[in-house]
């Protein structure tokens, strides 16, 4: 047995190398799929609550409509005769969120490249390093960076919404919107911490092909979080 090193040493479960498993898969791989199944139900509950409450807020601000606080009038366009201080613009800013969505989608691509670099490390090394494409450190860093960018976009989005008058207490839209996207943001944060941990291990001793499973698990989780965002972006932002 080699000297124990973080995250990969002996084995986290009884199912890693050297142990018989029924399916031949590592236990952790099975468990992460079970976790993802469970998380689907978690986000399904959140998203359906958002959709059920869509259009049921008694007061604004609203996601896609203008709202005049003084008269409680809602409209698709600017409301005539409403004092500027009383007028609330549509909250959701689709161009900005499209940019953050793009970042998150790109991070999934980098995740694939990071996994590829770890799996094929030996091959790249035999060919003299593999250059950029063979650098798992670079791709892990890029994934974490783009994930962090997404989170910064979300922080910007949240603060600007609050400035525009929408808080988690304002109305049903505020409550369900912040809870749903906040839960997703928390998942992205956990993913970024996971990626940074992998990156730290890679810096410390280098990830080798036998570590591929660790990267694979993080990747599955990361792609899942990404897929959930596609659902949220479509259902919450794009559909009016």
């Amino acid at each position: 047995m080699e000297v124990a090193t973080p995250m990969t040493s002996a084995s986290e479960s009884h199912g890693t190398t050297g142990h018989y498993t029924t399916t031949g898969l590592d236990n952790r791989k099975v468990a992460i799929w079970a976790l993802i199944g469970s998380e689907c139900m978690l986000f399904a509950s959140l998203i359906s609550t958002y959709l059920i409450y869509k259009g049921r807020s008694l007061v604004g601000p609203y996601p896609h409509e203008f709202w005049c606080r003084a008269t409680n009038v809602t409209s698709d366009g600017p409301i005539a005769g409403c004092a500027p201080a009383e007028l609330f613009r549509p909250i959701l800013n689709i161009p900005v969120t499209s940019a953050s969505t793009f970042c998150l989608l790109m991070s999934s691509l980098f995740m694939v490249l990071a996994h590829n670099a770890v799996v094929n490390r030996d091959e790249y090394r035999a060919r003299g390093g593999g250059g950029i494409i063979g650098s798992s450190k670079l791709w892990l860093f890029m994934t974490a960076l783009f994930g962090t960018t997404f989170l910064l976009f979300q922080a910007y989005e949240f603060t600007s919404f609050v400035h525009e008058g929408l808080t988690i207490r304002s109305n049903l839209f505020g409550s369900s919107f912040f809870t749903l996207t906040g839960f997703h943001g928390a998942h992205v944060t956990a993913g970024v911490i996971w990626l940074c941990t992998l990156l730290a291990i890679d810096m410390k001793r280098g990830l080798r092909p036998r570590d591929a499973l660790n990267v694979d698990l993080a990747a599955l989780y990361w792609h899942f979080v990404d897929v959930v965002w596609i659902a949220i972006f479509t259902l919450v932002y794009l559909i009016q």
């Binding site: 002996a10 009884h14 199912g15 898969l25 207490r169």
Partner: protein, 666 residues
Amino acid sequence: MATTAAAIPTAPPAATVGPELYRGGIWSWLSTVDHKRIGVLYLYTSLFFFLWGGIEAGIMRTQLIGPNGKLVSAEVYNQLFTMHGTTMVFLAIMPLSSAFFNFLIPLQIGARDVAFPRLNAFSYWVYLLGGLFISLPIFFNAAPDAGWFGYAPLTTRQYSPGLHIDFWVLGLQIIGISSLAAGFNFLTTIINMRAPGMSLMRMPLFTWNAFVTQFLIILAFPAITIALVFLQFDRFFGTNFYTPAAGGDPLLWQHLFWVIGHHEVYIRSSPAFGLISDIIRTFSRKRIFGYPVMVYATILIGFLGFGVWAHHMFATGLGPIADTVFSLTTMLIAIPTGVKIFNWISTLYGGAIRFTTANMFAIGLVAMFVIGGISGIMHASPPADLQQTDTYFIVAHFHYVLFGGSIMGLFAGVYYYYPKMFGRAMDERLGKIHFWINFIGGNLVFFPMHFSGLLGMPRRIYTYDSGQGWDFFNRLSTIGYYILFLSSIVFMYNFFVSRRRGVIVGNDPWGAPTLEWSIPSPPPEYNFAELPRVTSRYPLWDLKSPELTRHVPHSREGEKALEVDVGGKDVAHTKGGGLTQDRTRNPIEAPMHIEHGWPTAAQLGIPMPTPTVKPLVAAAALTLMVGGMTTKHISMPVFFTVVLSGAVLFVGSLYAWLTMPLEEHH
């Protein structure tokens, strides 16, 4: 096959009688990652909470013994019925099933442990700490008081100020994490850790039921997690999820809650059904009747269970279409359930039945569950439900389902597996006394509730006036409760005395066919010295009683042969009392566990997980983080300090845990 008898031993004979598995001081229990020891921890803890919930019920029943009872105030009564429900559901029955999941799943599928031994320890500690968090406030008159289903908006800050509901929301959140973690663990274990040859359709029915239960847990619990998060946000941060004044839907909570709340019924009853399927089979000396159909019925119940939750909400006026659909799916679910009943009866039919305590409880389950099932069909019909809802008729129904359908089965499981857990059997004579007092007491508590309910007595009232025809039935129920409580004392006495004085048993005291009975009682820490290779559903019968399995399944001829061949033998066998006879029948096997020590894992070169307290530390940090939210009542700075330090501690202990190798190689 497993190899215990043959592979013997280098280790010197053990000096004293007693199960080696449980040796060790308190530290060895705090740091254990052995699924068998964790199973025993679950067993003790859940029996403790079972007693606790039972005492809560006793105070309520004493209050209701006659009209205008004055024992407790309305406020205390509210806390009692809330905590009775919460305790029995989340802290007694589910974890008692977990005790069996822990102890049995790896043994039944031929594995050395669960997939994630340390996560398993984590689940247990979270359950214990969360259970105490939600239970202890009752001593400070601060226990949750809005019913175990905690309907919002009743539970929002406006209508339930104070700490009561905070304890409930946060406590359930903590316990939910325990159930989910255990769910992932057992699911992975069953999918991935089966011994060679143990195909899905060779798994014992207990494991099958456990398998389906884990699916229900991981798919249904997220709904309550979210429902509780909404409630928590409403209470702590002023969101509007359940505030009708802001347009919030008062039915949102009910929908989210019953998606999980109704699954709870199957989460609690499936393990008991699994246990009695195995027990009835063993004590009938017959293969289970229609094994594949039993499996399909289990899956179908789990599947249909996703489409029936709104039958708890007929009285809210969902409209004719929703009522019709949910009424139909509810009636439909009676079909696979009925299939199970008939399969149990058919298994008994023509069998060489031995009426051991375990078997009596199993058959008692079938009888009592049928009563609960029939009253269930009654209020599956919305017009009938509108008359019965929120009356004692409903209380009678779900106690027949839970007491009759879960607890009887779990008691059967305790009597059946006690020898495997502790190496000694429980006293059969006391066990039968327990059964009869329990059976009579249980029916005396719950059967009269049908009448008091139909006479109009509402649930959850702390007292009532005389002259409404309820007095007599309430008195019967209360007398029944005392009888039931007496039976629990008999059980506890038997349980603890048998730990020291019970009959010492061998590997297979009951003549059962599945893998867990091929190894010593209690098993060595590594379970199987060598992974078994499984060739059929009944590997031990193949070896010891081939006449029981040699025929093609379902062939009429096979059943006849069985009756003749084995019936005679086993009837004779019963006369002297199952257990001791069994020992003489297998003279070589029986005394083994006292005469020889077992080779240790190190001697056999089997890598075992290293004991560690890190899961306990992580569980404590999690409880601090979630439970610490109650400090918001003190001040915001305290709130942030406590919650953040809990979070930091939790993440830190996770890192410490994950960077530590699971096992040291010998």
